[in-house]
Structures are given as structure tokens and as C-alpha cells.
Symmetry: C2
Subunit: 337 residues, 2 copies
DNA sequence: TCCTCCTTTTGAACCGTTTCAATCAAAATT
DNA sequence: AATTTTGATTGAAACGGTTCAAAAGGAGGA
């Protein structure tokens, strides 16, 4: 037997197709009696509305896209999980794609998602040192509902939800200074990318405020935001600078830093304080629990989803960046006064 | 101006709607000249096919669903990433949902996905101690394309791709025995769930083969497969059993085991060898790098996707479980001979 | 020039919903 | 009893593609 359609239901229930449709949508125009009747037939036939026909009529798929750099950094996995919950709350589904920190790949996935009929899109910006953002501009030109999460592309500071990153490194640095450290460095990526820029800003503000000299070579630019990146950064600068405090741009990188220091026989935190960023779940369970900055993931995600749905539903929203408060987790890897 | 449809393209190109459709699909029935012409108009108008109308006609959304317990265990994040790549290869998109190890939540998400018109579904089974599998049976009854990944529900050993889990713990245990350990335990979850059962089997086989007595209380049943679960398991049994080797069911749990042992002043691996399972990326970069079993994630995922597409395309496939080889990573946390 | 065959194009049916103006029936009002 | 109002239902158009039998066009052969 062929597929069961709304026609079959209508026929068996002895009403018109239109009525069945309205009954299924619980429209007040249909009498309770008819609704019951229709529902009974639906049950009996095991009928299920065809999502494609429905989408065509409603021009909505009730699904949204999500683009992240990848899950090698568990932080993004935690974000994905929180985001899925937030989306599910709204009875929508989440498609995801991995950009690998390449805007080219990002553009490809955007195109693919558009071919799937997503209603909106949430993007964690790629840390691409040579970004091509034409696809983003294109979306924006068409008023496609788009929200950035955890950061934004420098030229495009619209509809973004992120943590107050500057605040996190400010507190971290201040804590280290209070603990008597004076030669603190920060390991970041390409400072033209906002998440890095903001963290560096906070770091600088703390030094300035405390009268500790800030200069350019306290900012170490690493190209990989990974364990290996942290490892390599130490090899590159430790012997020369001999820092007593190190702030890494994320937890995985901080672990790389600690790993390399230990293997050189340098003690953490006795000789050098190390702090990370993100508070991924394994950070607290390291042998030397990591001092780090917690981003309010669940809150960020629900905020981003709310923002996205405002855009989808055409409600007017002020452009701009919503910043949510971070909270510093003082643990063993760093001395903070 | 309204939405650009295929009609607009047809009008401007001076051909029929049918021809435009065929041109877009690169059908051999359309002349090269016409194709070029149509494409030019498409370009000019910035036309894009409506995915909903297309899906309705083709009865396919070119997207598939993926259900995982969650991303707290980074292993699942790595699987999600690999799966996304495998699916993208086929020019499809991936929807994902988090089951939280609850078959009830799993059922809810399956229902939601069905309402989105997915073409097929890949599920990592939930470790639900009291599973309700009616939704799975329902899918199977309707011949809905469904593939299980990393394990399967005991009553439903169909279309599954997983690693040869027994083999991993077999080798792990054998290695420990060869290193002279004799009092080895394994920490698992509910043994009615296949992934646990298989790992226990391999463990047992190794003991049997080497003439080391196996008995029930060498299998510790923990209820959380988390860091905390590993921690608690040590509190529960260490003092009584005094094992010299411990195999945990996954890496995160193994880290919990190590964390608790260390805090009790017990040295790893000098006093106790500890091994994990999965080889998540942070395992190799722990202060004591973890001996563990690598699952061939990329291979499993591409295999699962191939299997799923066979089902979707109606190719006939033998039922059953495909097992892929694991490889043991001998690192510092365990003595293996 | 006429006929045949092959390639291209057309046009309408179809996919399965939603929506809404028009109709119908029953209840309320005069 | 006739008229108006209210409430429930109908039927057809719309959504925007794909597909395929039939028609048209063009090339080649007799």
C-alpha cells in the first residue's frame, strides 16, 4: 500500500482535506467533535504529516544550522550540546557543520545548509588568518537570520552573543599581580581576530592599572590554538623571557604549556603560574587543576537562540554585541592573590 | 520584489519550466547551448532552487539524523566530527540530538527528526539501565534506514558498526598479566549493555587464557561512566580488593580512577596500572599519558555512513554487526609487558 | 521533395500540505 | 415565519519544484 496522506484521513473521517489540516493544527475553527474524530482516524491509520509538503506550504523547516571550528577543543563540544538543548526547547532541530577554522569551508557549508532550507544560522567564527567573508556579507544582504556565538568577525560586529572575554583576562592578570608576579605573558592567536584582541585588551588593562609595564613582546602570537601550540610557544619564548605567569588563550593550550614546562623540569605553580580559558570539563580534573575562566555556555546559547528567533520572526533587534559575564575559577595551576 | 522562482528563470531564458529544471539537474536531454543560457540567467537573477519544493518532489531532504548521549565525554565529540565529514562527502547534512543516555529522550528526538524529514538515522545507543525501545522497533517495522554506531541494543543487533571492543580489553589485560600483574579488575557499567558486555568478555578471555582466576567481583559495576564514576569506584573497592591493575571502560573514567588513587597517595603505574578506553585526544597529553585502546573513529563513521546510504538507496544488506579493529596505545599509566 | 529517425523542448500532472473566501447549517433574533 | 448571526465545513488555489508522454524541430537518406 502507498503512502498515507491527508486525503486518506479525510476520506475515512468523512470530512474535507482542509478540515483535517485544521484539526491537526488544532485550529479553533474546527469543532471539538470533529477534531476527536479526525484524531482517531489519524491514530488508526498511523498517519504522519509529510514534512516536505508542510515546509513548502509554511516556508519553514523548523531547523537551524550551526557551524563550529571542530570538536577537538572540547569547549566547542560543550557549546554544541548546550545549543542543541536551547534549540530543542523551541521545538526546532539543529544541523551542524565543522569549519576547521577555514572561512572557505565555512562558505561551503553555508551553501549546503541553504540548500537544506534552514531557517537561521549560528556561527562560531573561524580563526582564519586570511578570512574571506563574502558569504557572510551575502547572507547579511539578504537579511538572512544570522547570529555569531563566542565572537565575531572584526568587520561584522552584528548580532553576536559572547562572554566578556576582556574581563576574564583582566581578572586573571590582576590576580597574578596581586600574588606578586611581575613578568606575566599572554599567549594568543592572530590579534586581528576579536576573541584574541579582547583577551589581550583585558590583560593590558590589568597591567596598566597596576603599574606593571606592558609591551608588545608580552603578547606571544602562536598559530595553533592547540596543545601543540602551547607546547611550541614555550619552546619559542621561555628561555628568553623567563616569565613567572602565563595566560593561555584556552585550556587545551594551557595544558600544552604546563606539559612543556614540566618536561623541562619547571614547576607549576611554584616556578610559573599558568592559567587557561574556557573551563572545559576536564580542566578541573587535571592532576594540577587548572585556573581558568568559565564562559557561561548555557546562558550564551539560550541567549543566541533567542536572538536568532527574534530575527527569524522578524522582530526588530538592535544590532550589536551582547556580552555575558565570565567567572574566574581559581585552582591550583596559578598563584592568584 | 517577490521570491525568484523557476518560472522567472524560464521566462527570462525563453524556455519552459521543465527545461530549466532539467538544465539545473544537468540532464543529458537538454542541449549544451540551452544549459549555458539557463545558467547565465540563473546567475543573473541570483536564483536558488527552493529546497522545500525540491524535497517534496524528490521525497528526500538529503539530511540525516545523528543521536549521541552527549559531548561531556569528548569521545562522542570526536565521533560527531568524523561523522559530519563522512556525511558531507555524500553531499548530505547532519542533524544531531543529545540523548543524555535516556531512551525516552532518544524517542522524543527520533520523533522530532522524523518531523524534519531526515532520510536516515545513526544512533549511538544510550546507556539506559531501563531502556524502552519501542521507538526503535517502530522504525525497524517501517524499514526506516537506521544504523547503530559504537554499539547496539542487545535485542536489536542489526546494522551496526562498532570497534572490536572485546579485543581491546583482551590485549590490555594480557599486557598487564605479561607485566606480572595478577590482581586485575575492570570497571564497567550495566553488563546487559553490549559495549560493556563485550569489553568484559575480552577481559575474561585474557584471564582464562593465562590461567588467572576470573570471578564476578573482578567486574566492578559503576553507574556513572564519568570522571566521578571512576573516582567513586575506587572509593568503593580499592581498600578491599587492592588491585594491581585496573581497566576502566573509558578514558574519562580512567582519569577519575587515577585522580582518586593519586589523592590517596597511591602511585600510578608503580603501585597500580591503569588503562582506559577510546584514546580521546587529551589522553596522550595527560601528565601521566594514558594507556588506552584507540577506536578507529574515522573508519567507523565512514563505514556507518556507507551502510546507511545502502539502506536509504534500497540496496540489500546483510543484517549484523560490523566490527572494526582497535589498536592498543601503550603509554605510561600502565605496565604492559 | 518527402519520409524517417533522433534530439530537444513543451506542458501538464504530480508531490502533500495550508489557507481562506465561499457555502452551508443551525441557532438566535425579530 | 422570516431574517440575521454565528459557527463549522468545503473546495480550490497556492507553495515551487520534477518528471515524462507527447509534440516539435532538425538532420540525413532515398
Amino acid at each position: 500500500m502507498g503512502k498515507i496522506t491527508i486525503k486518506d484521513v479525510a476520506a475515512l473521517a468523512g470530512v474535507s482535506v482542509g478540515t483535517v489540516s485544521m484539526a491537526l493544527n488544532d485550529s479553533p475553527k474546527v469543532s471539538t467533535k470533529t477534531k476527536k474524530n479526525v484524531m482517531a482516524v489519524v491514530q488508526k491509520l498511523g498517519y504522519r504529516r509529510d514534512p516536505y509538503a508542510r515546509s513548502l506550504s509554511l516556508s519553514s523547516s523548523r531547523s537551524i544550522g550551526f557551524l563550529a571550528p571542530g570538536f577537538r577543543n572540547p569547549f566547542f563540544g560543550e557549546v554544541a550540546e548546550a545549543l542543541q538543548f536551547a534549540v530543542e526547547e523551541k521545538n526546532n532541530s539543529l544541523m551542524f557543520g565543522i569549519t576547521n577554522d577555514s572561512t572557505k569551508q565555512e562558505a561551503k557549508l553555508v551553501d549546503q545548509f541553504l540548500d537544506r532550507g534552514i531557517d537561521g544560522l549560528i556561527i562560531i567564527p573561524s580563526e582564519d588568518s586570511n578570512p574571506d567573508l563574502s558569504h557572510i556579507r551575502n547572507l547579511l544582504n539578504h537579511d538572512f537570520p544570522l547570529v555569531f556565538l563566542t565572537g565575531y568577525y572584526p568587520e561584522i560586529p552584528f548580532h553576536t552573543v559572547m562572554a566578556d572575554l576582556a574581563d576574564g583576562s583582566y581578572e586573571l592578570a590582576k590576580g597574578m599581580i596581586n600574588a606578586g608576579l611581575r613578568n606575566i605573558i599572554i599567549i594568543a592567536g592572530n590579534p586581528s581576530l576579536t576573541p584574541f584582541r579582547e583577551r589581550i585588551e583585558g590583560f593590558r588593562r590589568a597591567l596598566d592599572e597596576c603599574g606593571v609595564a606592558f609591551d608588545e613582546n608580552k603578547v606571544i602570537i602562536s598559530d595553533g590554538m592547540s596543545y601543540e601550540g602551547g607546547y611550541a610557544a614555550i619552546d619559542k619564548v621561555y628561555d628568553e623571557i623567563r616569565p613567572d605567569g602565563i595566560i593561555a588563550i584556552n585550556d587545551v593550550m594551557a595544558m600544552g604549556v604546563i606539559g612543556r614546562l614540566r618536561s623541562k623540569g619547571i614547576r607549576v605553580p611554584e616556578d610559573v603560574s599558568v592559567a587557561g580559558y574556557d573551563d572545559i570539563s576536564i580542566s578541573s580534573i587535571q592532576e594540577t587543576p587548572l585556573t581558568t575562566v568559565e564562559q557561561p555556555i548555557a546562558l550564551m546559547c539560550s541567549e543566541a537562540v533567542d536572538m536568532l528567533f527574534s530575527l527569524i520572526e522578524g522582530r526588530i533587534i538592535a544590532d550589536g554585541v551582547v556580552r555575558l559575564p565570565v567567572s574566574v575559577k581559581h585552582r591550583r595551576s596559578a598563584k592568584t592573590g
